[in-house]
């Protein structure tokens, strides 16, 4: 017996209205991944990844569970090294510098590359302290400047109005969606160049998801965004380019509308039509 059913998913991808905005300069490559391989002890989690991420775009990474999405995105700010026994080959150039040898300090890299996680992970501190955490650690002490950063970041994360009256309350008192936006604000507070997002809405309710999605589209104007999502429609809605990964390999990488409307690879098609995953 085998599955004989045929399904077809058509997704009309919008022409992103924001793309017209400021893309007149020469697009710059922020991340250039070459022949990246990664092992968790024995598991070969990433296989020969080659990928270029362009400035001020949203790059979405999709693929079934366990295909290596999180692993890849965590390699981009070397968070993956927190897992013991991780080994890599190949190079990832961030603005021209290879980050996998030690020519760039990992702390410096992470100061420039922010990250938002799947589960909202605010610190168990007040909202204010959450947002000022990064600036303070990096040596900014002046209260007035910090206040300004807090307001700007929270505005940037589209949550200022909701929390401005309770900045000193614990961030754990917020709803999941609000927490996630506070985490984004926390990340904006140190003005990174790139923001990595690992399924930032998967723990959120529909309304919160919507808000975060809109925020991402807004953020794209100033930041380069790489986002992992298991929701294909989400990828279609918000990204400029999409990467489809499977079993640690990049199967297909192209403009989002093209990937969804006209996948080149049979496996991509199977996946986006819901044959598995």
């Amino acid at each position: 017996m085998s599955i004989t059913t045929q399904k077809k998913v058509q997704i009309d991808v919008k022409n992103n209205d924001t793309t017209t905005e400021s893309k007149t300069e020469q697009p710059r490559v922020v991340y250039d991944t070459k022949d990246l391989n990664l092992w968790y002890s024995e598991t070969h989690a990433l296989k020969d990844i080659n990928l270029e991420v362009t400035e001020n775009e949203v790059t979405a990474i999709i693929g079934p569970s366990g295909c290596g999405k999180s692993t890849y995105i965590k390699t981009l700010n070397r968070m993956v090294e927190l897992v013991p026994g991780v080994g890599t080959t190949g190079t990832i150039a961030y603005k021209g510098k290879n980050i996998l040898d030690n020519s760039m300090k990992v702390e410096d890299l992470r100061t420039q590359v922010g990250m938002v996680f799947q589960k909202p992970n605010p610190f168990p501190k007040s909202i204010y302290e959450n947002v000022t955490y990064g600036p303070k650690i990096h040596g900014i002490k002046k209260k007035s400047l910090l206040d300004e950063i807090v307001e700007n970041s929270l505005r940037g994360a589209a949550i200022w109005d909701e929390v401005k009256d309770r900045l000193n309350q614990n961030a754990y008192g917020l709803s999941g969606g609000q927490q996630q936006r506070v985490c984004i604000a926390r990340c904006l507070a140190i003005e990174p160049d790139v923001i990595l997002m690992d399924e930032p809405t998967s723990a959120l309710d529909p309304i919160s998801t919507l808000k975060v999605e809109e925020l991402i589209k807004e953020l794209k104007k100033k930041y380069t965004i790489i986002i992992v999502t298991h929701n294909m429609q989400q990828a279609a809605r918000i990204s400029d380019k999409t990467v489809f990964m499977l079993n640690g390999e990049v199967v297909e990488f192209s403009e989002t509308d093209q990937l969804f409307s006209n996948p080149k690879d049979k496996r991509t098609e199977d996946y986006i039509t819901g044959r598995f995953g």
């Binding site: 017996m1 013991p84 890299l109 610190f123 990064g134 754990y172 926390r186």
Partner: protein, 318 residues
């Protein structure tokens, strides 16, 4: 695919009917379902009986003591001369000894234990942790009598080589050694508390370009604070209750003093001394043992309630 052959599954056995039949005669099981919780409840209440037993033991004898020595004198007296011609029963020298020795212990074990916990939970690899943690825990498992002689025959002479004022029996070295004994308690419990801080929070901090130290101090420790404090309080209460180390290494002078080079006696050591001594039954001295034990019991109980309160109060929700 194998499923083809599976379609010929037959319900010939008819298990469900069998089960239904069994259901009807399973009266013993029903009985057990009701009986078991009752039995277990009775077992659980043995711990309550233990407390009642302790209280009864202590109070019924201490009452005799307080009939002869006014409570106020007992708790405010700075002289403890139980066998002198004009006996005096002030517990302050013992409280003093107990508090000072525990204080020294926590001053040693607090920083060292906490720093060990930080090393184990934040810096050490899994393998290193799995070797070191049990090794450290051996320290907590060494019989205290062994520590007592370690303090008396090693630590005191060692300190005296560079600090000759230290008396041969003193409160300092049992305090230090008690500190060593409770290091693993603090290290282990604090490490547990820190390990249970969700990784997400840690990653959130590291992802902003902070160093491990900054993440640990600014995020992990505050988040694990309640657990760390609780481990401190528990360790202190262990130090307060410790008997053999002070009995052996601190001598038995009932000194009301704050000079750590001198011999002092703790409440526990006093109990050992009197119960192994020559106090005739019915004598005030004999009863004083129970008065001291009662004080000690209340003292540690307060510490434990404090630990509970503190860890609840400072508990972070994550």
């Amino acid at each position: 695919m194998a499923t083809n052959s599976d379609s010929n599954v037959n319900k010939a056995v008819n298990v469900s009917e069998l089960i239904a039949k069994n259901k009807k005669k399973k009266s013993i099981n029903n009985y057990m379902e009701k009986l078991v919780p009752t039995i277990l409840f009775l077992l659980a209440s043995i711990t309550v009986l233990t407390t009642i037993g302790i209280l009864y033991t202590l109070i019924s004898e201490a009452v005799h003591f307080f009939m002869e020595v006014p409570i106020l004198d007992f708790f405010t007296g700075t002289e403890l001369k139980p066998l002198s011609q004009n006996p005096e029963f002030g517990i302050l020298p013992l409280l003093n000894g107990t508090i000072i020795s525990s204080l020294i212990a926590i001053l040693v074990a607090g920083p060292i234990g906490l720093m060990s916990a930080i090393f184990l939970s934040e810096y050490a690899s899994d393998k290193v942790r799995r070797i070191i943690k049990p090794l450290l825990e051996i320290l907590a498992g060494i019989p205290t009598i062994v520590y007592g002689f370690f303090a008396f025959t090693f630590v005191t002479p060692l300190i005296r080589t560079f600090w000759p004022q230290l008396e041969a029996t003193n409160i300092l070295s049992p305090g230090l050694v008690m500190g060593i004994m409770i290091i693993p308690m603090i290290a282990s419990l604090s490490e547990d508390a820190m390990t249970s801080v969700p990784n997400g929070i840690r990653e959130g901090s590291l992802a902003m370009g902070t160093t491990k130290l900054e993440t640990t101090v600014k995020v992990v420790i505050p988040a694990a604070f309640s657990g760390i404090i609780a481990s401190f309080v528990l360790a202190i209460s262990r130090a307060i209750g410790e008997t053999m180390i002070v009995t052996i290494a601190s001598g038995s002078s009932k000194n009301f003093s704050f000079d750590i080079t001198e011999s002092m006696q703790t409440m526990t050591a006093f109990i050992v001394e009197v119960s192994g001594g020559e106090a005739p039954a019915g004598s005030t001295l004999h009863y004083s043992l129970y008065a001291v034990a009662l004080t000690l019991f209340v003292f540690t109980m307060i510490m434990n309630l404090l630990a509970k309160y503190v860890s609840r109060k400072f508990r972070e929700e994550y």
